[in-house]
């Protein structure tokens, strides 16, 4: 299949890419790994006039821990994130989620910034960033601003990014000792987008939950924290988690070709319980 023609421009650095986006206006799209954009172009869902390639710039490629944060550059690929010892030491949830993205070829090229900026409501990395309370540094090449992950996703495929802005770095607060983590998803086939995915974090003491975080993807137009469940879990033993999770009434999932709303609601409950119990178990292992 031949795609509609577009022009290609390679940016020397991220600032130059922002300037190019301003120069070209509405018809311009940023490309890094291209693992979402090029499939969309190939099937006719996107039709840019020009793509601005940031895949060769030297910036935003580091995974580094300092001052209580893990900083991950936007151009870090899913493969690199899944393999990063620095990321694993700070927060194993990140690499676990990255290893669920697409297939190995997608993970070889696809980038963290690309996944976050694409804004697919079922994607793994926006979900774990939401669960972890991450924030993103956005830059238009002149000014930078910081936006919390929860506020970054606006709705389906729509984020806070302005047309000439790039997501440069994700900053993930490093949790103290005693937190366990878990990532679970169900998709029709391995590598497909999840029907529902769950990311859970639990801190326990004496076998009961002290603090928890639960976020779900695939149940709304963006990843969502489930605050009601988090509040209900305080003081729960592992065996009490299913009752405390309840039926998560607040969810209003949608029906599409992958799953019905009812099935998504069912998956949300099952995956939440599994993820929270696994996170609870791991929180005990850490001491």
């Amino acid at each position: 299949m031949y795609t509609r023609a577009f022009r290609y421009e390679r940016a020397d650095d991220l600032g130059a890419a922002c300037a190019a986006l301003r120069r070209h206006g509405e018809g311009a799209k940023v490309i890094a790994g291209g693992q979402s954009l090029l499939p969309m172009i190939n099937v006719g869902l996107a039709a840019p006039d020009v793509v601005v390639d940031i895949s060769r710039v030297a910036q935003a490629r580091e995974v580094a821990a300092s001052d209580g944060y893990l900083s991950i550059g936007a151009l870090v690929t899913h493969r690199e994130l899944a393999a990063s010892e620095v990321a694993r030491a700070s927060q194993p949830l990140l690499g676990a989620a990255a290893s669920y993205v697409g297939n190995a070829r997608v993970r070889n090229r696809g980038t963290l910034g690309g996944s976050l900026a694409h804004g697919d409501p079922a994607a793994e990395l926006p979900l774990v960033m939401t669960a972890l309370g991450a924030s993103y540094e956005l830059s238009d090449g002149r000014e930078t601003r910081e936006v919390r992950a929860e506020e970054f996703s606006v709705t389906l495929y729509t984020t806070e990014l302005q047309p000439d802005e790039l997501l440069v770095t994700a900053r993930v607060p490093v949790l103290g000792p005693g937190w366990g983590w878990s990532f679970r998803e169900v998709s029709r086939r391995r590598g497909d987008f999840a029907m529902v995915a769950a990311a859970a974090l639990v801190r326990s003491a004496g076998g009961v939950v002290v603090e928890s975080r639960l976020a779900l993807a695939g149940v709304a137009d963006r990843p969502v924290r489930i605050g009601a469940v988090e509040a209900a879990l305080a003081g729960a033993t592992r065996d009490e988690i299913p009752d405390r999770v309840g039926s998560i009434e607040e969810l209003r999932p949608f029906t599409d070709t992958a799953a019905t709303a009812d099935y998504r609601r069912h998956l949300a409950r099952v995956l939440s319980v599994q993820a929270l119990q696994e996170a609870h178990r791991r929180s005990g292992e850490d001491g």
Partner: protein, 164 residues
């Protein structure tokens, strides 16, 4: 022709050890460039979405779907296609021989991508179980063989049985 009407830029890509320079308009995928400009037709167009694996090639040693990489993005890179897995004298390499011996192809459309992704999965050097090989192949779709012979062929290479 680009949409701006300028002549397309030239890209230089080393394909299976041979340096090639040819024009690549901005929207031309690496797959299309390989097939139409470089005359290397072993990677196949399957889905156009990076799901089926028929177009898989190695770019600087990493497996990618050539249908969702722009030729311009691969400028200056080394690309290996299934044909590049042959020995220097043109005879079949170990993995290719194993696919032949174990009848790991029927229609053959997925085979070049299978060979490339199998090469990438074995490059780590760790011994994989049959289950792990199956898991690694989830990004390569075959509608003929049922995957059994493909898994057997890949397994046989890591067992060192391919050149027996």
């Amino acid at each position: 022709m680009t949409s701006a009407g300028q002549p397309p830029a030239m890209v230089t890509i080393t394909v299976n050890g041979r340096r090639r320079t040819a024009p690549a308009a901005g929207h031309v995928s690496l797959l299309r460039w390989l097939r139409e400009e470089a005359g290397v037709t072993d990677p196949k167009y399957g889905c156009g979405e990076g799901i089926c694996g028929a177009c898989a090639v190695l770019v600087d040693g990493l497996a990618v779907s050539a249908c969702i990489v722009l030729a311009a993005q691969a400028d200056g890179c080394e690309v290996t296609t299934a044909g590049g897995l042959c020995r220097p004298d043109g005879s079949l390499g170990p993995l290719q021989q194993a696919f032949h011996r174990h009848h790991a192809a029927q229609c053959g459309f997925c085979t070049p991508g299978m060979l490339i992704c199998a090469t990438a999965m074995l490059a780590g050097g760790r011994h994989l179980t049959r289950e792990e090989i199956r898991e690694e192949l989830h990004g390569n779709i075959c509608r003929c063989t049922g995957y059994g012979p493909i898994v057997t062929a890949i397994d046989s290479v890591q067992n060192g049985a391919a050149t027996r």
